[in-house]
């Protein structure tokens, strides 16, 4: 099953199990979403629970907040993460703060799914990775799976979570590969990172589409006798920093790989936290391999992305540092 199918399956499982779950967004109905993640849901669950909305991201998220306050479990889709900005006010000022400002009288259990990152030649406006903006604003949770199995389990976990979850789907992975994904119900709890590849010499932290690139890079330098531990964060916030801490305690070296621009990206936060927690274990400066601090260009997409050709030298440099 590829990631698109796995996500579709997760939605089906939850919609069958819990009739409070509704799906809304642009083109999620008849079309089944521009990436087909919601294909067939309209036919199975009907117009009340699978809703094609007018073209307004603020509307999609703002209405979902109202539904969540009422007691539904809305799952909104934004067509691309680049279009999260029209909904930022609702996310940051309403969803993120509703529980807090009501002293816990109201909760806001909603999921906002959105395809993120590069990999489809989407240029400036179909490639962005805005995760750090949502992390910075307290009250939101942020998830980003790297493979079909995790995608299904995490989406189910996100839907059952009592708080608002931004669920970023790496569109480069959507149909890139298939893997065994169990039928039916299983859940991966949020805030648990996974060791995607065990190793001893360097810790590489990543998420989403860059996990595969990281593993490929790790395997490549394995031939040179370097053993890289790749940690797939899976949930970005609240982050499972203990998994990273434990790994760095072992390796003493840290590389972080993400697609978003470097400046104030989530990589910086991990560097800062690791410095705060295990400074004396660090034998080399933590290194970030990221998107450049520019908009996301169209033609030179592969020069923009932190793909294996850029990860390998970063790993070698970090390994050799002394």
């Amino acid at each position: 099953m590829n990631m698109v199918k796995a996500l579709n399956d997760a939605l089906r499982v939850e919609m069958r199990r819990d009739e409070r779950v509704v799906v809304l967004g642009e083109d999620v109905g008849k079309l089944g979403g521009v990436f087909r993640v919601t294909a067939g849901l309209l036919e199975e669950f009907g117009e009340d629970r699978v809703v094609d909305t007018p073209l307004s991201e603020a509307g999609i998220v703002g209405a979902a907040i109202g539904m969540a306050l009422y007691g539904l479990r809305p799952v909104s889709e934004l067509e691309f993460a680049d279009f999260v900005y029209p909904a930022m006010d609702q996310l940051v000022n309403e969803a993120a703060k509703y529980r807090y400002r009501s002293g816990g009288e109201f909760g806001c259990p909603l999921v906002v799914r959105t395809p993120m990152g590069g990999g489809i030649k989407g240029g400036l406006y179909h490639s962005q990775s805005p995760e750090s903006l949502l992390i910075h604003n307290a009250g939101l949770k942020v998830v980003c799976p790297s493979n079909p199995y995790d995608a299904k389990g995490l989406l189910i976990g996100a839907i059952r979570d009592p708080d608002p979850v931004l669920f970023f789907e790496p569109k480069r992975v959507y149909r890139a590969n298939e893997m065994e994904v169990p039928e039916g119900d299983y859940m991966i709890p949020l805030s648990q990172a996974k060791v995607a590849l065990a190793g001893t010499d360097i810790t590489l932290v990543s998420w989403g589409a860059m996990v595969e690139e990281s593993i490929a890079a790790a395997k490549e330098i394995h031939e040179q006798g370097l053993s890289v531990e790749v940690i797939d964060l899976r949930t970005l916030w609240p982050v499972d920093i203990q998994s990273v801490v434990q790994s760095v305690q072992k390796t003493g070296r840290l590389v972080i790989v993400h697609e978003a621009p470097k400046a104030c990206g989530f990589g910086a936060e991990i560097v800062a936290q690791i410095c705060e927690r295990v400074f004396l274990h660090l034998e080399a400066p933590p290194k970030r391999v990221t998107g450049w601090d520019t908009p996301f260009p169209y033609a030179l997409e592969n020069e923009y992305l932190p793909l294996r050709h850029r990860i390998v030298p970063a790993l070698i440099e970090t390994a050799r540092y002394s």
Binding site: A63, L69, F106, P162, I241
Partner: protein, 374 residues
């Protein structure tokens, strides 16, 4: 008498097709053709709440001047538009509001003590002092948590009412917002979604003529604010929001229509902000005192009192008793709120999420362990 003339030329006044619904004139006499013939007990209750709202405002302004509360946003002159509209909802219905409609929460049973605990931001406050004054939460009273951000509650209310429709539950959701909010993005998406999905939403556009220093005439070039509804396929009504009976009747019509499954309705409540925008504002910088003087004639409380006196169901004496009672209640609630402890430091770190995550546990410990602010 041309309504346009009654109001400032600087403010945009709307008139729905068939005009502006009015019942009581300036002397408290009713127009028999529009009179909704409400029960005296109901009207008296509305009147009492309107008086209470005004006295609370006066008291809060005073407390703010004395530096005892940090801020207040009042509803001086807008009491009918707020309380008579809330009165037209059914018990199971819900209200979303902006910051100026505390009176509507009181109507629904929100306790004065809770209000003052919010005003003082003390440990007893429902939100444990997290929010500014006048930013209340009253879930038990079917009243959503107030945000300061203009307009956001509109689309939230639409989603809320839409959920009730999906769940086939007989709940209408009303949402208050000001003339300024009609320019915000969430008015646009809210009205549009409500129109498309025929949600049981009542949009209560409390047009008080001003958005801080911006007159409604500069907020939009439309002839009448209700004209905006047409672009969303949402029917609209308009009433004199300083006329409690007209307000009640008009909002009730919208509520019934929504409850019957006929979808949303926009109701413009034409009123006027007699006071400052908030205690931080100085309206003399941008509007003429003469305009305000002119508007005082339409004071909703005076008009409703004259109506009740004309019916001989209310007297000067009762008014005095009422005022005294409210003052006493206020006195007691203020004393309790002012003497309550500050919120615990833990309140900063709790209820960000349902379950406290590790990083907030750490930060709370750090804060509790460290020195306190001076």
């Amino acid at each position: 008498m041309d309504l346009q003339q009654n109001y400032s030329t600087t403010t945009l006044r709307s008139a729905a097709k068939g005009g502006v619904m009015k019942v009581i004139d300036l002397d408290g006499r009713v127009d028999p053709t529009t009179d909704p013939r409400l029960e005296v007990a109901l009207v008296t209750r509305i009147y009492r709440e309107m008086v209470r709202a005004r006295l609370i405002d006066e008291r809060m302004n005073a407390l703010q001047r004395q530096g005892r509360v940090g801020f207040h946003v009042g509803a001086y002159g807008e009491e009918a538009s707020i309380i008579a509209s809330a009165a037209a909802l059914r018990p199971q219905d819900w209200l979303f509001s902006c910051y100026r409609e505390i009176g509507a929460a009181f109507w629904r049973g929100f306790e004065l003590q809770s209000y003052l605990d919010n005003m003082f931001g003390n440990a007893n406050d429902i939100a444990e002092g997290r929010q500014m004054p006048d930013h209340i939460t009253a879930r038990r009273n079917h009243f959503a948590a107030v945000s300061s951000v203009i307009g956001t509650q509109i689309i939230n209310a639409v989603g809320f009412s839409w959920a009730a429709k999906i769940r086939k539950e007989d709940v209408v959701t009303a949402v208050y917002f000001g003339d300024g909010a009609t320019s915000a993005a969430d008015f646009h998406s809210g009205m549009n979604f409500a129109g498309v999905f025929k949600t049981p939403t009542v949009f209560l556009l409390r047009n008080n003529g001003w958005a801080i220093s911006i007159p409604a005439s500069r907020q939009s070039a439309c002839r009448r604010l209700v004209d905006k509804a047409l672009g969303y396929g949402v029917p609209a009504l308009c009433c004199d929001g300083n006329d409690a009976l007209a307000t009640y009747a008009t909002v009730q019509r919208a509520v019934s229509s929504a409850a019957e499954g006929k979808g949303p309705m926009l109701v413009e409540l034409q009123t006027y902000r007699l006071g400052a925008h908030t205690t931080s504002d100085d309206p003399t910088r941008y509007r003429n005192e003469s305009e305000v003087e002119r508007e005082r004639k339409y004071d909703p409380i005076r008009r409703l009192r004259l109506y009740l006196e004309n019916l001989e169901v209310w007297s000067q004496q009762e008014d005095e008793k009422l005022i005294e009672k409210i003052h006493a209640e206020l006195q007691a609630a203020i004393a309790r709120a002012e003497n309550a402890p500050r919120p615990a430091v833990a309140s900063i770190f709790e209820k960000v999420y349902r379950d406290q995550p590790a990083h907030l546990r750490e930060q709370q410990a750090e804060c509790e362990r460290g020195p306190r602010a001076r």
